[in-house]
């Protein structure tokens, strides 16, 4: 179980977020659950790049580097965080307008489209 702790942590975070999206009734809590899912996946992606006894992958003028962690996932996760920010902003804007039209944040009452 020692070598798999990062998988376990991210999987548990992902499941907590998924539970929030599926079972909570308030729109804002669903949005927070979506945020937790995105955090879990980004964290997993960064942890994948860890090499043992590595240090931060930044070159400095007067140090020689022996081994560093993988820098590629860090660049990709930066992009992914910004994508998550854009989606969150859009969903929050939609949620504000839904409150204005329907008068409630409860998704069991926002069900005009059915069938």
């Amino acid at each position: 179980m020692n070598g798999y702790s990062e998988y376990m942590l991210c999987f548990m975070l992902f499941c907590i977020g998924l539970y929030c999206v599926l079972r909570k009734r308030n729109i804002i809590k669903i949005i927070i659950g979506l945020g937790i899912i995105e955090y879990a996946v980004n964290l997993f992606f960064v942890l994948v790049g860890y090499r043992s006894h590595g240090r931060a992958p930044i070159l400095a003028k007067d140090q020689t580097i022996l081994n560093m962690v993988d820098p590629l996932p860090q660049a990709l996760v930066l992009t992914s965080i910004v994508i998550g920010l854009a989606v969150t902003a859009l969903i929050v804007a939609i949620a504000i307008r839904i409150y204005e039209k329907y008068g409630t944040f409860d998704i069991t009452k926002i069900r005009r489209l059915r069938g």
Binding site: A56, I58, L59, A60, K61, L78, I81, V82, A89, V92, A93, I96, E100
Partner: protein, 149 residues
């Protein structure tokens, strides 16, 4: 004489904001310009610059912040940042490939003006992200529902 309604937060917050907001802006610009030497770059620096304007809006109320940077000019800056990034990419076609760096040489490592087109791309991304984030915040603040009119 009627009392003007107090907007924004208390006096303590307003004083500290007056002192620190310029420093936050400067720090954001520092992170953008040194994006090729230390962690940060366009995204992080853009977010910090947007945060300085949002800090102004939170502490002083929306009129003061919108006088400094109105919503329309935030939209224009955002599009300009995106067009600048696309323009840098298209300029690479002169050298033969998309995104090729042909007009700024690599320079000495660890100097400020080095690493080709990366600082220009960082500035373009910073404009887009900073203006975009501030425009989102301003749009959500200025949203007048049908009951407020």
């Amino acid at each position: 004489m009627k009392n003007k309604k107090e907007v924004g937060m208390t006096v303590i917050v307003k004083t500290i904001t007056r002192l620190t907001v310029g420093l936050i802006l400067l720090y954001g610009i520092y992170i953008v310009l040194h994006g090729h030497l230390s962690p940060g770059g366009g995204f992080a620096g853009g977010v910090i610059i947007a945060l300085s304007f949002i800090h102004l809006m939170l502490a002083f109320g929306r009129e003061v912040a919108l006088k400094k940077l109105s919503q329309a000019s935030a939209s224009i800056l955002e599009s300009l940042g995106a067009i600048m990034f696309l323009g840098i990419a298209i300029l690479g076609f002169i050298g033969g490939y998309f995104f090729l760096n042909f007009f700024l040489h690599k320079g000495k490592p660890f100097a400020l003006f080095s690493a080709g087109i990366i600082p220009l791309c960082n500035i373009a991304i910073c404009l887009k992200v900073g203006a975009g984030l501030f425009a989102i915040f301003a749009a959500l603040v200025l949203f007048k529902g049908s009951d407020e009119k």
